[in-house]
């Protein structure tokens, strides 16, 4: 039977609790669905927090200082605005100030559409990227989740995992698509990786060959030759994300790519407006149409 991203998160967490004295903390963990089936349905090791945002994150930090490697679950990334203070001000600085590791794994879950509206329909991973000491990743495949988990378990840093509900039922890996004769390279983040795949197929049908590079670590961004080579070969790039553009992961990575290659790179994210709850007012991950249009505009320059 295929193993999905949700299955992977759940089983990694189950073994963490059972075998390495780990724990999970969060609000409404054991409610209907067990956080989209990503939390193991077991009493031991799952700690229901009161509805105490900010304090809840502090409690997770305290557990991390004691070496329990807690998994702190935020069912919506919008809750990062409330919970981020102990993460960036304490956990992320603990090693530098005191030499004491504080390895909490923050699972921040992105959602969009479905009536989630102006509060929950968004990804906010960019907000934490300007603070040192907190690596940020966005795994969208089972294999990637295992990789970032192994990284967290073998390092002392806290890690912000920008998850997305769109990935939970996916059981496939997402290899980069690099082609001879490509005229542009898309660097896709988070849920935009799925829409970018569709955009590449549509452009291919129009005779426009485009590379697709999947970005797992938003910070630190991997500037290795294999990541830069498609951009150098194609001559122009587009970074696509499911977050707003201003002061964003997409623009930050676009800057890094331009700095490393000298090639023009643009960023594409959500429209600059609050999403509405009604379907016609939603503001989700850039669609294949928007991405394709951005590529056409890029190569027309």
């Amino acid at each position: 039977m295929a193993v999905t991203v949700a299955d992977t998160i759940r089983e990694l967490t189950r073994s963490h609790i059972a075998e390495t004295n780990g724990m999970t903390l969060g609000q409404c963990l054991t409610a209907v669905g067990w956080v989209q089936n990503t939390v193991p349905a077991q009493a031991e090791g799952n700690h229901e927090l009161p509805m105490t945002d900010v304090a809840g994150a502090g409690i997770a930090v305290g557990a991390a200082l004691m070496g329990r490697r807690p998994v702190f679950v935020l069912r919506f990334q919008s809750l990062l605005w409330l919970n981020v203070s102990p993460i960036v001000n304490y956990a992320a600085k603990s090693m530098e100030i005191w030499g004491v590791p504080c390895p909490v794994l923050v699972r921040a879950i992105g959602v969009e559409g479905g009536g989630t509206g102006p509060i929950h329909s968004n990804c906010n991973h960019s907000m934490v990227m300007s603070m040192p000491g907190l690596p940020v990743c966005a795994p969208m495949t089972p294999g990637e989740y295992r990789r970032i988990w192994d990284h967290w378990m073998s390092h002392d840093d806290p890690v912000l995992v920008s998850e997305h509900r769109r990935s939970y039922l996916s059981d496939r890996e997402l290899p980069d698509m690099v082609k001879d004769g490509a005229v542009a390279t898309i660097y896709a983040l988070s849920a935009a990786r799925f829409t970018a795949e569709e955009a590449v197929a549509r452009l291919e049908a129009e005779g426009i060959r485009v590379n697709l590079v999947h970005v797992l670590w938003l910070k630190p961004f991997d500037r290795s030759p294999s990541v830069l080579a498609p951009l150098l070969a194609s001559g122009r790039g587009l970074v696509v994300d499911c977050a707003y553009e201003c002061a964003s992961a997409a623009r930050s990575i676009a800057y890094e790519l331009m700095e490393a290659t000298g090639k023009p790179v643009r960023a594409l994210g959500l429209e600059e407006r609050s999403p509405g709850a009604s379907r016609h007012l939603e503001n989700g991950t850039p669609s294949p149409e928007r991405i394709a249009a951005a590529i056409r505009a890029l190569i027309a320059v």
Binding site: T52, G62, Y90, I97
Partner: protein
């Protein structure tokens, strides 16, 4: 009943007479060490040997001294005004001096200065400088280490932070083994409590289900409640900050002088000469330490 802002608020009569001689001498020694240390830090900043922000415990030393008499070995989370807690709970003085001097051998390798002093090997966990945000962390420590005790110090201003109140409620719900100690100097920077809130912290704590008392900063009284309350518990301790919120300045005499009162009580116990000797010894010990570390910094 005495007024809350008085040196005898909820005092238990003759408590110091009930304490053993050795207990009182050690209690006074811890108080004296903190007083001598922060008096010297103040001078070091006046002399410009210390140029980072400093938050001095002068006037408030009896609280940490009293609590520490029964809780050394617990995980301790000091507030930003932390020197007396650090020293009373056996944090290494030379590492704190080095920190204030910005040396890599400091307890935060020179990164933190005065407010985040920590000694993790001795279970003193640093404060990040955001008021009260270590209080939820204390609850997390207790949850992760249920076999250990945790002591968390914070001020009367921090008590108003929403996440501090949430942490108190969570500790009550989880029956966490945490002793919360509010060092209530009645001032948030310079704004008195009456201008900030109408409620009483000990009453709020009791409403959450914590064992709680509201007392003056008599060190024997603080030690008594630290030993006898059932965790999770809260002690709100009325005290006087002698100096400014940060720095070396002083606006006037404190409402009461706990150090002088304590010395008078030591005399009542027939320990005046011993107390005098301890005070001299602590002052000398601290001065020798500062001279040594200043020489190290200057490379001599």
């Amino acid at each position: 009943m005495t007024e809350p802002r008085s040196p005898d608020f909820n005092l238990i009569d003759d408590l110091h007479h009930q304490a053993g001689r050795d207990f009182s001498l050690e209690l006074f020694r811890r108080l004296c060490l903190s007083r001598a240390f922060d008096t010297r830090v103040r001078q070091a900043q006046i002399d410009k040997d210390v140029q980072t922000l400093i938050y001095l415990s002068v006037g408030q030393e009896s609280i940490a001294a009293g609590v520490s008499m029964h809780h050394r070995g617990a995980w301790v989370l000091p507030q930003h005004r932390c020197h007396s807690t650090y020293l009373s709970f056996d944090g290494r003085p030379e590492r704190l001096v080095d920190e204030l001097l910005g040396l890599p051998s400091g307890c935060c390798a020179g990164m933190g200065g005065s407010p985040p002093a920590a000694d993790f090997e001795r279970r003193i966990i640093g404060h990040d400088g955001l008021i009260g945000d270590h209080v939820p962390i204390a609850v997390g420590v207790a949850m992760a280490k249920p076999e250990d005790k945790v002591v968390c110090f914070f001020g009367d201003g921090a008590a108003e932070e929403d996440y501090v109140l949430a942490a108190l409620g969570t500790a009550a719900s989880w029956k966490s083994r945490v002793l919360f100690v509010c060092e209530d100097n009645d001032l948030s920077v310079l704004t008195p409590t009456r201008d900030r809130r109408s409620w009483n912290l000990a009453e709020v704590a009791r409403a959450f289900g914590l064992d709680a008392v509201d007392i003056a900063d008599d060190p024997w009284l603080v030690a008594h409640h630290a030993a006898t309350l059932t965790l999770p518990a809260l002690i709100n301790v009325r005290t006087c900050r002698v100096l400014w919120h940060n720095g070396t300045g002083q606006d006037g005499p404190p409402e009461w002088d706990r150090f002088a009162i304590t010395k008078a009580r030591m005399a009542e116990l027939g320990l005046a000469a011993e107390a005098e000797a301890i005070e001299t010894e602590c002052t000398t010990q601290v001065e020798d330490l500062w001279q040594s570390r200043l020489q190290t910094r200057s490379g001599n």
